[in-house]
């Protein structure tokens, strides 16, 4: 337990209230946040840019993951496909972060108290780490992963399932298990033709799709919550 202070004196508060809330409050009072909130047009256009980034991101993620799952382009290896979409993925992530940052500056006080926002940040961080730390490393080695790759994978799995179990409601969990089931069934159906390396790639593709979709869904849910 921590102690926070206001003009009435000290009171018991959480770690986040003591150390994270002041950051949000400080940022909210900054000139740039004030400017964003004062403008009627900045937030809507940042929302548009965020949505376009979602489209770019979806394409870049889908092309490589679909290929790893046996759909999409035929005459290429997954590594070829991933190389072709990598610049698009970088552009999408950069645009999403910049536009998302501007959107956040417009409603910091709401976001601090928004579970979907924190869920989104957690899945976004895991999705980024997973895509570059696990999936792309597997793809580059035709599905063969080293110990570090699997260690990152396990860490993300544990952390993310924990976050998901604690922070989301039955609706989100139901959707997650439906998605996992559908994708798992896809791999199961193809299991006869899959070697161990293809299997690792397929499962990584499933994780990538689920992580990015959860991030997008949680992001959309910020507005509904």
């Amino acid at each position: 337990m921590f102690y926070c202070r206001d003009d009435q004196g000290e009171y018991e508060c959480s770690f986040a209230d003591k150390f994270v809330l002041p950051l949000f409050d400080g940022l909210d009072a900054s000139p740039i946040a004030t400017a964003v909130k004062a403008s009627a047009m900045v937030v809507p256009w940042a929302g548009v840019a965020h949505l376009l980034a979602l489209g770019l991101l979806g394409g870049a993620i889908f092309m490589a993951d679909a290929k790893a799952l046996g759909a999409g382009l035929k005459s290429h290896t997954t590594a070829d496909v991933e190389r072709n979409v990598r610049p698009i993925l970088f552009a999408a992530v950069a645009l999403a972060i910049v536009s998302g940052g501007i959107l956040a500056l417009g409603e910091l006080k709401k976001l601090y108290y928004s579970p979907p926002y924190w869920l989104k940040m957690a899945t976004f961080a895991s999705a980024l780490l997973f895509t570059f730390g696990v999936r792309n490393r597997l793809i580059a080695n035709a599905g063969k992963g080293d110990r570090l790759t699997y260690a990152i994978w396990a860490a993300i799995g544990v952390a993310w399932l924990g976050v998901f179990a604690f922070m989301s409601n039955w609706l989100a969990r139901g959707a997650l298990f439906l998605l996992l089931g559908a994708l798992g069934a896809t791999v199961w159906r193809r299991r006869a033709t899959l070697g161990p390396n293809d299997l690792a790639l397929s499962v990584a593709a499933i994780c990538s799709i689920v992580l990015w979709l959860t991030t997008a869904a949680a992001g959309r849910w910020i507005a509904f919550y």
Partner: protein
């Protein structure tokens, strides 16, 4: 037309949909997330036609292996979009951005027709090389049209140009088919 929309607006299912706690957000979220599949895959095909990515892939492989996913995404977008429209038909009917979006959709479709009937007709001649001007222009138009559709779609949520805020008889009020001010109370 408006009478039909008003009738649609008062059907029990329409009212239930727009007042629902979860169904409307789930439909809307599905609509938005499907952009990842639809816009993402059409973008890849357009970028290939423009010679910006997948340069070692034939155009016909892109259209045969990627476009079916685009179509699947589009079907999901039309289904969720139609149900969303049915939930608030009168609001969307008078929404200037919704009308713009439908216009851009028509333009996008005209471009698709042009591409498949004309630009793509001799694809065998340039399958692995740079597509001809007509195909590249079509790809550029496709990117522009779908971007415009996403922009207009996002702006539907804002009420800056709702009938109540427009000058009666003005250009925008006419473009949105706003009813005469007296009848406006039925809008709310």
């Amino acid at each position: 037309m408006r009478d039909f929309i008003v009738m649609l607006n008062e059907t029990p299912w329409s009212i239930a949909l727009r007042e629902s706690l979860y169904v409307w957000p789930i439909l809307e979220a599905t609509h938005v997330l499907t952009i990842m599949l639809f816009a993402g895959t059409i973008l890849m095909v357009d970028l290939r036609l423009l010679g910006l990515t997948f340069k070692q892939t034939t155009v016909s492989e892109m259209t045969e292996r990627v476009l079916p996913w685009t179509v699947a995404g589009f079907i999901l977008l039309v289904i969720t979009g139609s149900v969303l429209f049915y939930a608030k038909p009168l609001v969307y009917y008078h929404n200037i951005f919704f009308r713009l979006k439908m216009l851009f959709l028509v333009a996008a479709f005209a471009n698709i027709l042009y591409f498949h009937k004309r630009a793509q007709a001799n694809v065998a001649e340039w399958d692995l090389t740079a597509p001809p001007r007509s195909a590249r222009i079509s790809a550029g138009l496709s990117l522009a049209a779908w971007t415009a559709i996403i922009v207009a779609g996002r702006m539907i949520a804002y009420d800056w140009y709702d009938c109540g805020k427009l000058r009666p008889g003005g250009f925008l009020a006419v473009a949105a088919s706003c009813p005469a001010p007296l009848a406006q109370s039925s809008e709310e």
